[in-house]
């Protein structure tokens, strides 16, 4: 089972990897926190020492560098690392597409790589849909006729349009 420390590190690292704010990724009152499911998936799919290495590397970066410098450090220390890099990239895919892709550590993931949708809850919460203001097939909260108006920069939802890295804090008061 993961500790809160693991979850905090996972969410902090994920915020840098995805460009969404930590609050967008793991809202304070989320009734079904997808971050918890993703961390559990990571822990089930990747050897424990590597997961620990990944999270502690991030924790050290977060402790040593100001926020503005952390993304560059994640790039240098994690994404270019031959062990941690592929895992980190698979975490990005998991957040955006709600799928854990197998074989991520044996070469680049192709369009037809086998993978598993993390859960029905995760399926509805892929960041790809938030980033493009669209919805996954078969699940939409948007109101009838939304397609007739251009997507708007919307900072008022739990996963607003902060995919550019300027995290909006979810726009919550």
């Amino acid at each position: 089972m993961s500790s809160n420390q693991d979850l905090d590190n996972f969410v902090g690292l994920s915020a840098i990897l995805t460009g969404f704010s930590a609050d967008d990724l793991n809202p304070q009152f989320s009734p079904q926190p997808v971050a918890v499911e993703y961390l559990q998936t990571l822990q089930a799919k990747v050897a424990a020492p590597l997961v620990t290495q990944l999270l502690t590397t991030y924790q050290t970066i977060a402790a040593q560098f100001p926020a503005a410098e952390q993304p560059a450090q994640v790039q240098v220390q994690i994404l270019t690392d031959p062990q941690m890099g592929p895992v980190a990239r698979n975490i990005i895919r998991m957040w955006y597409l709600s799928i854990w892709y197998d074989g991520y550590d044996t070469g680049p993931v192709t369009g037809f790589s086998p993978g598993t949708v993390v859960s029905s809850n995760a399926y509805t919460k892929g960041l790809a849909w938030d980033a493009m203001q669209a919805h996954p097939m078969g699940y939409s909260e948007m109101h009838y006729g939304y397609w007739a108006t251009p997507p708007q920069a919307d900072d008022s939802t739990d996963a607003g349009s902060s995919a550019n890295g300027n995290s909006s804090g979810g726009g919550q008061a």
Partner: protein, 474 residues
């Protein structure tokens, strides 16, 4: 986001003080009810039952939830909304005066069962008239022709035999396979009723949303009024829109019903003409008992509305303090009829189904332990008013609320990530219980699909789909 604790100037009066009559003004609900019953028991309370904190059992409908101080957690906010649900349930079922308002000289259940506050609310068929004309003013009722001249007047007209009426069956009900619910005691169809409060009615009438032309002409975003708790700055803050959906079953002691466990009314049970099977319109006067109760209330802290749902405690299993031999309303261990499955077609609302075809309902998501504890507390308080009170035999299933209340209605996630994610009443969402997104019952998620007759978002209520054209027609 913080769920803020409103600064209200509270006048706290003991609810029990109302029993003595005299000047008992509506009381503000307390900010929280964490006080233990023992700590607040008064010396003049001779019964063994615990006394609620002062003002808890009151006739004032809360305008919004009151949030306790830090730490705010999902569970703490859920508790605050659950308390709001119980306060609303008590206030809506408070004894009514002839004009429909709460009788401040009475206390719920003290003098037995009788007319309650929401009986005075309007029904949709009175608002969305077949010819699209202006509805009758607040406080006047119109009866279907078959129900006139039936002798003594009934309290209610119950028309709906399915969870979704014919008017809107093409909306979102049909794909979910809704069907009728049949009780174990009588083999009769459960009937449904919808009522709207004054703020809802006024918004519809003032904006001419009661006919198609009016809806077409209304080009703004539909936004029903939000409730805000009164404060010294805003003593007249609105209660906000409240919409109720109730489920009733026929009560017949000869068939094993225990009338003392139900809120009961005399109702005209009205059945519209139908082709399959061929059925003429009919109207019978029956005693019916409340088995399910939805409250949707739009508030400042929940623009996606707060969704409270209550049940009679014997619905899916026999509840507390039942006399020996009591049978559940919708479950019989010896029946072989499949669980959570609608009755066989054709569906005839006037039919009396044989025992082996009566509904077998199981609750798929159990009531949360914290809500169960809160239920026991309120049931004890209601039983403390009068040991025979019917109101102690109701339970809150849960309250659904938006964890992201600021979500924009025109954005990609307008539903505001509701908690709990799924919620169903065994008598109203019987056949769609579960926890599959887009399939299982979630009040907010489904009501997020509600539209006007010209397909515009209708602010979470399906009411506006009932409008007809001016002069008649769909």
């Amino acid at each position: 986001m913080r769920f803020s604790r409103p600064m209200i100037c509270m006048i706290i009066l003991s609810g029990l003080a109302c029993m003595g009559g005299g000047g008992c003004t509506p009381v503000q609900p307390p900010a929280n009810t964490n006080a233990t019953p023992a700590a607040t028991a008064t010396a003049n309370n001779t019964s063994a039952a615990p006394t609620p904190p002062p003002g808890t059992l009151g006739p004032a409908i809360p305008h919004d939830a009151n949030f306790s101080d830090n730490p705010q957690t999902l569970a703490a906010i859920q508790h605050d909304f659950d308390v709001f649900s119980w306060q609303s349930f008590v206030a809506l079922n408070w004894p009514a005066m002839p004009d429909g308002s709460a009788d401040p000289g009475k206390i719920i259940g003290a003098d037995g069962d009788g007319a309650v506050v929401w009986d005075g609310y309007k029904e949709p068929y009175e608002v969305f008239l077949p010819d699209g004309s202006t509805p009758t003013p607040w406080g006047q009722q119109q009866l279907p022709a078959q129900c006139r001249n039936l002798g003594p007047p009934g309290d209610k007209v119950l028309q709906m035999t399915q969870k979704v009426s014919d008017d809107v069956l093409d909306a979102s009900g049909q794909p979910f396979g809704t069907g009728p619910l049949v009780d174990q005691q009588n083999g009769r169809y459960v009937r449904y009723e919808i009522r709207i409060n004054r703020d809802t009615y006024d918004y519809i009438v003032q904006n001419t949303l009661y006919n198609k032309e009016g809806q077409q002409a209304f080009t703004q975003l539909i936004q029903f009024p939000k409730g805000t708790n009164p404060s010294s700055q805003a003593p007249d803050a609105p209660v906000g829109s409240i919409v109720i959906k109730a489920a009733w079953k026929v009560i017949d002691p000869a068939q094993g019903d225990i009338p003392g466990r139900f809120h009961k009314v005399q109702a005209y049970v009205y059945t519209r003409a139908s082709d399959n099977p061929p059925t003429p319109p009919s109207c019978e006067l029956k005693t019916v008992g409340l088995v399910g109760f939805h409250i949707a209330h739009k508030t400042a802290s929940a623009p996606q509305w707060v969704w409270s749902t209550f049940e009679q405690v014997d619905n899916v299993q026999v509840g507390h303090d039942a006399p020996p031999g009591t049978k559940a309303n919708f479950f019989d261990a010896v029946s072989t009829y499949p669980v959570n499955t609608p009755p066989p077609r054709p569906w005839n609302p006037n039919a009396v189904l044989p025992p082996d075809k009566r509904s077998q309902v199981k609750r798929v998501i159990p009531i949360d332990d914290a809500t169960k504890a809160l239920n026991a507390q309120w049931q004890a308080w209601l039983g403390g008013v009068n040991k025979d009170s019917v109101w102690q035999y109701y339970e809150l299933v849960s309250t659904q609320w938006p964890t992201q209340p600021n979500a924009s209605p025109t954005g990609p996630k307008p539903a505001g990530d509701p908690a709990p994610p799924f919620l169903a009443n065994a008598t109203l969402e019987t056949y769609i219980q579960g926890n599959t997104p887009n399939v299982s019952s979630s009040c907010i998620m489904c009501h997020n699909n509600a539209t006007t007759t010209n397909s515009k978002f209708s602010d979470f209520t399906y009411l506006l789909e009932r409008a007809h054209k001016k002069g008649g027609g769909k």
